[in-house]
């Protein structure tokens, strides 16, 4: 039958093409580096990976989001080479932090954001605590417009929320309220909802859309984070496990190099750990850098 002939021919041609392709494939051995985790860190590692690949033939950096929890769990289980996280591994339940190696690749500042109609220029830590625990429910009570307060939280377990609660709310848990799982959505909700308050990383701050109040009289700027006067910030971590391959070590060194830290990090709205005049440990103790 004609059809049978045709199909066999196609099958044979396909097999030949595949074998040919396999035989003529790039001889270059590729080494994959996999990074999974925090979506906040994803663009930076991705961009760094692209330029790293250009300089290191055969290396292939594969970066995926999935959330800090996923990243830490996967690097712990050995499924990926790097776990990207917004928090210290010690802070995440179910992670045995002592088995992981921490690489602090960036510092991220987090600022409260308000809907522009609120009209509040400054908030003290106490006021933030009262707002987020619903002791204060109207902006009038902190000198703003007569407008009910709408809380927009980040998801329970997200690094941004953990950092904000720890350093912005002095360790208080926020009351239940709306939750959004991404910075972009949180910002657009705040910008369009009268009376809304949320918090996002500095890279999402946009004066046209939202109002950024001072915290305890300190402006949310990179400079103030560096000198330690602005309290709400956290490290962005890359965790690795056990012995690192030479290519992985090279990539980690590259992430710490000036090329990344001076150019890429500021471009993405992060702060380089190199510029920090203070440092912090897991328990939140801040000490000056020598």
């Amino acid at each position: 039958m004609k059809q049978k002939w045709l199909w066999s021919l196609i099958a044979i041609l396909g097999a030949v093409a595949l074998t040919g392709a396999y035989l003529t494939k790039d001889k270059q051995q590729t080494i994959n580096l996999n990074a999974v985790g925090s979506t906040a860190l994803q663009p930076m590692v991705e961009a760094a990976g692209e330029s790293f690949q250009r300089d290191t033939p055969g290396a292939y950096v594969n970066v995926q989001g999935g959330g800090s929890g996923t990243g830490l769990a996967q690097v712990q289980s050995g499924a990926v080479d790097m776990g990207m996280a917004d928090m210290f591994a010690e802070e995440k339940k179910g992670i045995q932090a002592q088995k992981l190696t921490d690489h602090k690749v960036a510092v991220i500042g987090i600022a409260p954001i308000l809907n522009p109609n609120v009209g509040v220029k400054n908030l003290t830590t106490q006021q933030l605590v009262d707002i987020f625990t619903k002791k204060i429910t109207n902006w009038q009570q902190v000198g703003g417009a007569n407008q009910a307060i709408v809380l927009v939280n980040r998801v329970n377990g997200s690094g941004t929320r953990a950092t904000f609660e720890k350093y912005g709310l002095d360790g208080h848990f926020s009351a239940e309220g709306q939750e959004q799982d991404s910075s972009g959505t949180a910002r657009s909700i705040v910008s369009s909802t009268p009376g809304a308050i949320s918090y996002v990383a500095f890279s999402y701050l946009d004066d046209k859309q939202v109002l950024v109040p001072k915290v305890n009289g300190v402006q949310a700027t990179d400079q103030n984070v560096m000198n330690g006067s602005y309290p709400i910030w956290a490290y962005e971590h890359i965790y690795t496990k056990g012995t690192e391959s030479s290519v992985l070590q090279k990539f980690l060194r590259y992430l710490d190099s000036d090329e990344v830290q001076r150019k890429l990090v500021p471009q993405l709205g992060y702060i380089s750990p190199h510029d920090m005049q203070v440092q912090r440990d897991v328990d939140g103790r801040t000490t000056p850098v020598k």
Binding site: S68, K93, G177, Q178, Q180, P194
Partner: protein
């Protein structure tokens, strides 16, 4: 034995082909079954771990109203009360079905009884197209159009059960409509002719004959739409507000099972209580899906009698 007798007692080529076809297609079915069972097993084992490994009582899980898996209550028990999400899911589901039903049935009647040609020409392709729009885009439109509209109409933040229901209403409308159309088309022509021959007006024919005959099918379509709504995640998540609080009115931000599940899963560590509790939500979704299916089947059986 002559040639024909021999041929009759031998296994013919056709039989061999048939055996081949039967085995291959059975294999495909078994493959799907394996997939289904492994997913069920996976969800069940993770979802049940909350109760067996983490010793959360089923009762407090289903009735508790505080959802904060990372924290513990005064007795040192984890705060995993799923009641707000369960209520939220049911609210948006029923509400969206309630809004969608008259529109879907009306449109379907229009397409089959009043203007079959135009109806099919415009609505059919539009319906199929809408199914292809990703829920992210629905959510995006919900965020930029529905939520502000709700805010202007009813005050509050705009996020809440009602906004979620409105988005779901548009999402399930095409499904419910096209399934209803199928049912109405299946009503035998002689019913229509008989009714009209008896002097009934078109509306009487539609109302008293067609819709009566098609009721089981229409119910199935609605339950099917509800099942869809119950499982929808991304779009609802963007507009419902995601506050794990008992909704006290339709405008207060609330959460659904899917919205909490989707946004929480990446931030928890596999095997931890926080993670298992989320899988318990997935298990509820699975069981609800089973319930919806059984309802559809029950309606189908009743209609067949």
């Amino acid at each position: 034995m002559d040639e024909i007798q021999e041929a009759l007692t031998k296994t013919s080529k056709a039989t061999k082909k048939d055996r081949f076809g039967r085995s291959v297609s059975l294999l495909a079915l078994i493959l799907i079954l394996a997939v289904v069972i492994s997913i069920f097993w996976f969800v069940a084992s993770k979802g049940l771990a909350t109760f067996f490994k983490n010793h959360v009582s089923l009762w407090s899980f289903l009735t508790g109203t505080k959802w904060a898996p990372g924290q513990v209550d005064a007795h040192g028990k984890p705060l995993v009360g799923a009641a707000p999400m369960i209520v939220g899911s049911f609210l948006v589901t029923f509400l969206s079905a309630l809004i969608a039903t008259p529109f879907a049935v009306g449109t379907a009647v229009f397409m089959t009884e009043i203007s079959p040609k135009r109806g099919a020409k415009i609505l059919q392709p539009v319906t199929e197209l809408l199914v292809g729009i990703p829920s992210v885009v629905y959510g995006f439109v919900g965020l930029t159009v529905v939520v502000p509209a709700m805010r202007h109409l009813f005050g509050g933040s705009g996020f809440g059960v009602l906004a979620g229901s409105m988005v779901l209403f548009v999402m399930i409308l095409p499904t419910v409509t096209s399934m209803t159309v199928d049912t109405l088309r299946a009503v035998p022509k002689r019913y229509r002719e008989a009714a009209l021959a008896l002097g009934a007006t078109r509306w009487q024919m539609i109302y008293k004959v067609i819709l009566r005959a098609a009721t089981p099918g229409i119910l199935t379509a609605i339950v099917f739409g509800m099942a869809r709504a119950f499982g929808e995640a991304l779009a609802v998540q963007m507009v419902v507000g995601n506050a794990a609080l008992m909704p006290h009115n339709l405008m207060s931000p609330s959460a659904t099972l899917t919205s909490i599940l989707t946004q929480g899963i990446g931030n928890t560590v596999m095997g931890s209580l926080e993670n298992n509790a989320l899988w318990s939500l997935a298990l509820i979704l699975l069981l609800m899906s089973l319930v919806f299916n059984l309802v559809i089947r029950a309606i189908g059986k009743k209609g067949a009698m």
